[in-house]
Symmetry: C2
Subunit: 199 residues, 2 copies
């Protein structure tokens, strides 16, 4: 299979590239690194990317910014960071991927444990991650040609505990390589509309 | 209790006003009707509203636009209809309400059954309704002074079957008066971070 991984240079993305690269041809895309660079919040750039890469069998997204702040001081503009990046960036990829996926191909997006298990300063994270899971439930029933769409919800990564650890006290971190298995289940499996919980 | 109902002139809102009006002082707010008019997608207008109404014990929102379209032709701009209106409109109200609610007061938002049970043309509805539920889970753990926040997820209303019926074949519609009971449980009850399913 030919698989595009958008967010390939991040902590999750690197592990996904390694996992999927064992048996598939991976095209790595990053905001600044990777074979192709794209700001996926801009659907025009996503269209350009797919026009260059052409037909694929799977698309994985492991990218997206979120703003963390106390609810008492959160502004609409700060909520729009996550809405424009992690949510609509991934939706942009799904919308464009519909046209470039071979029959039976798949889209795999990324949410996060905070969708279900809230943390302080995480109102936007809970909102955006839940929105992605809702989008996947909605999109799954409309995709034609046997196309599938799933989402992986990772908990905090062992590799990210240096920066995120203080926000996730008591959460059991997962190794990126283990989280990557959920992406493999989505890409190589046959399910659709599913949230794979990597926790 | 003094309760603001935003969306008071809609099908759900009217029933909520009737239900809560039996024992509370209700301030009705609409986009065009009601005692006060506000475009809640604009947080400045929400701030003006609360500055005029002053301290309250509960805030209920039963408003919000969503765009419905086939996934194959959905555009980012069409997703932004629901993100700006039903999602961020309600979030704007919650953000401002924090400052105007008396101790122990409550915020009750509205999602919808499509968050969990997708329908054709409903990718944005599934996304936005899930986002609202995620926001409520996240916000609930941060609100101070015993403030609470919940969300009601109604199924299609009996009163709306004329317009929405064709999208909800096989769904059992609920009377608006029955859906309104979920809002009463949120306002008069003691739970927080909860999704009340009116279906």
């Amino acid at each position: 299979m030919k698989v595009i991984v958008i967010g390939a240079t991040g902590a999750v993305g690197k592990a996904v590239v390694e996992e999927l690269g064992q048996r598939h041809e991976v095209v790595s895309v990053g905001a600044r690194g990777g074979e192709y660079q794209v700001d996926f919040a801009d659907i025009a750039q996503v269209r350009d990317l797919f026009a260059k890469v052409g037909k694929v069998d799977a698309v994985v997204v492991t990218a997206g910014k979120l703003h963390f702040a106390p609810l008492a001081s959160f502004t609409p503009e700060q909520f729009h960071v996550g809405l424009n990046s992690k949510l609509m960036g991934q939706v942009n990829v799904a919308l464009v991927a519909q046209e470039y996926l071979n029959d039976g191909g798949s889209i795999t997006l990324t949410s996060g444990i905070v969708a279900e298990e809230p943390i302080r300063n995480g109102a936007s994270a809970s909102m955006v991650n839940s929105a992605i899971e809702g989008f996947v439930r909605g999109a799954a029933i409309e995709l034609p040609r046997g196309l599938r769409i799933n989402v992986v919800s990772p908990t905090v990564l062992q590799e990210s505990m240096g920066s995120y650890g203080p926000f996730f006290v008591g959460f059991e971190p997962v190794a990126a390589a283990r989280a990557a298995l959920s992406y493999a289940r989505s890409v190589d499996g046959a399910q659709t509309g599913k949230v794979y919980k990597a926790w």
